[in-house]
Symmetry: C2
Subunit: 230 residues, 2 copies
Amino acid sequence: MYDLWYWPGIPGRGEFVRLALEAGGIAYRDRGCDEGAEALMEDMRSARVQPPFAPPYLVAGNETIAQTANILLFLADRHPRLAPADRRYWVHQLQLTIMDATLEAHETHHPVGAGLYYEDQKPEAARRAKEFREERIPKFLLYFERALAHNGAWLTGETWSYADLSLFQLVEGLRFAFPRRMAMVERDCPKLLALRDAVAALPELASYLASDRRQPFSEGLFRHYPELDG
Amino acid sequence: MYDLWYWPGIPGRGEFVRLALEAGGIAYRDRGCDEGAEALMEDMRSARVQPPFAPPYLVAGNETIAQTANILLFLADRHPRLAPADRRYWVHQLQLTIMDATLEAHETHHPVGAGLYYEDQKPEAARRAKEFREERIPKFLLYFERALAHNGAWLTGETWSYADLSLFQLVEGLRFAFPRRMAMVERDCPKLLALRDAVAALPELASYLASDRRQPFSEGLFRHYPELDG
């Protein structure tokens, strides 16, 4: 049994871990969601030999594992269904690139710093979002399209890995935040969209995606400000 | 024999890999430095089943491994001197946090986007740098100080791992970019400074650090603009 700790109320980085746990049929407690932000902050303060810098982190017995991509690597090493062992660096490389794209999506509404409100950095956000939607979204998505062209319907070929689940989440987040731009870019990414649809239709995820544990996008990494969608 | 590909002329993200290869006594060719940016861009265009999104990447036989932290993970799995196997997720977690801090240092001079010059985003940079030097530098460095307090002179206790080498590089980069701020913050980080000095004095790194292959900071991730140092 694993304990996942992440901020409640937003999908955020925790959602990449949740999708892997759910699709892999792996038992876990969603401690941050169940017990709230105060409990998370208190747990963060507890002394640990391997302290996390920030949520999400996973507690497995005596071990605490932090950094989203590192948690997925750890889980895949223990649960081979999550990634083929002979492609583990490839899957991890893709995951790290998905995390980069996710962070850049966040930077569009907080270019001056996470400590300020969006309302206090709107001109800067407008400039940053322009480059992101015109240059970076196409660059990232066409990269994943190319990776699929070399590998098959999934990023490792025959079946899903945790990176496919995370790529689904990235597409969902970008669609939420930049619906107009995504409608344009998606025309050039048929394989990526097929992957997105295939993840959405996975039997392993059906009950989770239909449940209220699947949190909607709102004020987290991916935010919809129409003025940033160009 | 490994081939490392990275942009020539700046230490950048490639330097985290170089330090591990050098300290580990691992043979490699520094292809980007030896052959230039044109050769790197041409190599990037070659068809690969596992294409890199961006440099650095490492070619090992038929395999291409990209993403800085992933390259280090891959190398440590093959060369046990680089990280103790029973602490591999901890070392990787630290490395990913070092990469986060490095990216945030870059964002201070390019908050609006990497596609524009610093001169075209100076007001935005001034705002971003304020939060970075006042909030983020102390938060990151005190985190590593706390990690050392729980583990010993090195991040895994008895001897250096690749994360210690990278942490040295982060401190060097921050000292170059934010010398005034670092002089203040360092007073609260004696263990981190002892680690920095211990890496600088490693016999395994002596000839590399004294050579002209050790490139100085200039216009890369870490840049010194006095007005951003507050």
